[in-house]
Assembly symmetry: C2
Homo-oligomer: 422 residues x 2
């Protein structure tokens, strides 16, 4: 008998029919002898509906306490789906109780709309589990030190589930979603993409931050910090599939080095389409330049992704960075009107038609020549590399957006991702 | 400067456009110098939508903790509308904060789906009012001693508003609704029906229990117990109507005897259509008979309204009572199969085609002959009276349902309700 946490996304909770299927699946796990904690998202569309109403009432300005009220509003979506799941479980003959974040309590800081979990008190939940109940904990929300309702930001139910699993030392946290695991790359781009049976949490972190939207990145960080065994699997398998088969399905996110021994060098190819590049050519190479440029950008609340500065030639250097494509025009305008004059008016070049492609793999740590194999493969396809950025377990390149699919397919093949079993 | 409580019903909160109007109206009152507490209902249709989802999941049986989860579910409707109203007020430039029942807290007992308020802590609310904020308190809900969310039953937002007004010693509690006050009778039956400027809370209690659905009866009881000045008025007047005019509109529910001096003898004609009558003819007149009959009915969860037992003739008596028409067939079946044999098998007669018409007036206390004027008036119209029941301030008769409109119009005229100004 183990303590297991299940998390179900909005699509899995999208109708009473689907909620009933979730209840049957959870009841199956409980009847197999497990202590079950379930964290559901709001029914799909509900959070958008609520926030849409708020937007109709306060379309543009954000008064002081606006975010506090947005959280009180948005938190109702998960509270409703949690109660509905408890009712569905009871209808299946399974004793069940639902708790809002403040009832557990899940304590957070006071950063409304993007709060961070500070602590979880598990006494109440454990008492219910010991009494034979399935406990449903409302995801996405908590309560701050002053007793205000907070939410954790989009995708926050993943984080809630992992945090609950960490606090309760759960044997495993199963994230049920509308995909059946983590793939070597997006199967819509590469039909031969393969589901990974395991992936290291560091790789998962890179994949999540590089646009594989299977899990919210904070939940992966949390899982890594507390070593919560995390499994991503499909909620669209029949609820009555054999529990031993189900327990091995999907993708397991692992933490132990020795589990990685058979790991391929590269685990997956991640990519993002919505990038834009800005280069400042011929900046005087002296202290404070990077801050002058990026400080102004950050103050305008524009998030910067890659940052690259080349070595200096003749006292001048080139400085490049990427931003989300939606912010590109605003960032260009800002630089031209407010920043360039201070820098001796160098040339500013923008390009909104780029994309980023990355290879990710924990095996890169101990293998040389991985990046060069990537560049060779792109070169063989005639793809020009505009920017390069590397970390310990990934290498990212910026290329013309028209080559995205070609590059991903070429790299997927170059690193043998179709054939290996990870 | 006074502390004022506003309560807005689901229709008044039915769209973002209407919520914006509520915000403008409340802001007008706040800018006039009042400390404002607002209790909104859920957006119209929302509670039914939520409970409909629950019913799809657990259509028939009610497992142990089902009501607890229904309350956690239903409470989200008011929480959402409260946050939306706070946002709308902020968009009007008016500082505002919303609190769920547990945040105030509004403490209740643990009778899920029909909890009763035990106490309200006003410290947090008062601090916000003193800081210049409009405070929005989620209606219909509270928290029990174990920290479970409870709801007060249908119409419970009225009760929340009155309870908050009582706890905070508000100068007045204004119940905004889709009618513009309390009428001498239903204007759909008697076009000459007149709005009452004042009505005593005892009359209001009788009217509420007799089918005038302007206010939930528990809220009137609460107002009477704590002497909360209560005004029923329309939320469909323009929000920018002169505040002094608005403050005198609608119907004021009063408690002080001296305010009643100019009161008419009869204030209104109430009626209910959905009644059914059951008479048991020739019951042995001995102790325990009433219990034998009504005990069985009560155990079957059938609510009994009027109960009449006539004097005994020859050791036998006739026993009659009324029930809701929906319960009539079930009550008849129950009596015939389970009760009558024990009573010497007297005759049971049912009639589902009846209605109840009542005259209500605090002036009846001190005026004789009011009931007889009622009977005379009905007699003049050829209406046969089947049952009579009286209390200190009302006289009710059961008549054939086909005479309902005729009886109400005749009585409305007989007691000069069209012409007087109360």
């Amino acid at each position: 008998m183990a303590l297991i946490v299940h998390k179900y996304g909005g699509t899995s909770m999208g109708s009473t029919e689907r909620i009933r299927n979730v209840a049957k699946r959870v009841a199956k796990w409980a009847r197999a002898g497990h202590q079950m904690v379930v964290v559901p998202s709001a029914m799909s569309g509900e959070t958008n509906r609520l926030l849409g109403l708020a937007k109709e009432l306060a379309p543009s300005d954000n008064p002081t306490d606006y975010f506090r009220e947005l959280d009180a509003l948005a938190a109702t979506g998960e509270q409703a789906s949690s109660a509905l799941l408890a009712i569905a479980l009871q209808a299946e003959g399974m004793p069940s109780v639902s708790y809002a974040g403040w009832q557990v309590p899940i304590r957070t800081d006071s950063a409304f709309t993007k709060a961070r979990i500070a602590s979880i008190d598990d006494a109440r939940v454990r008492a219910d589990l010991n009494a034979g109940k399935v406990v449903i904990i409302t995801g996405f929300q908590g309560v701050d030190p002053e007793g205000h309702i907070t939410t954790l930001g989009r995708g926050g139910s993943d984080t809630s589930a992992v945090a609950v699993a960490a606090a309760m030392k759960a044997a495993e946290c199963l994230i049920y979603t509308d995909v059946d695991g983590v793939y070597t790359t997006d199967p819509r781009v590469v039909p031969e993409a393969r589901r990974l049976q395991t992936v290291s949490f560091e790789e998962m972190l890179e994949m999540a931050s590089l646009g594989s939207k299977v899990l919210q990145i904070r939940s992966v960080e949390f899982a890594g910090k507390y070593k919560v065994p995390l499994r991503v699997l499909s909620s669209f398998t029949p609820w009555d599939i054999d529990i031993h088969e189900e327990a091995k399905s999907g993708t397991l996110i692992t933490f132990e080095e020795d589990e990685q021994m058979e790991q391929a060098i590269v685990s997956g190819i991640a990519f993002t389409r919505d990038e834009a590049k800005i280069s400042i050519i011929g900046v005087p190479d002296k202290p404070g330049i990077a801050y002058k440029i990026l400080g102004a950008v950050a103050q305008a609340n524009i998030e910067v992704d890659m940052i690259i500065q080349n070595i200096s030639k003749g006292g001048l250097t080139d400085f490049s960075f990427t931003v989300n494509r939606n912010d590109h025009a605003r960032a260009m305008e800002l630089l031209k009107t407010k920043v360039m004059a201070d820098l001796g008016a160098p040339e500013v070049i923008g390009d909104a038609k780029i994309c980023k492609v990355s290879i990710v793999g924990i095996g890169m740590r101990s293998h040389v020549g991985v990046a060069s194999r990537m560049f060779e493969s792109l070169s063989a396809e005639g793809i020009n590399i505009q920017m390069i950025s590397t970390s310990e377990i990934k290498t990212s390149v910026v290329i013309d957006e028209k080559y995205l699919e070609l590059a991903v397919r070429a790299l997927h093949k170059a690193f043998d991702l179709e054939q290996n079993q990870a």
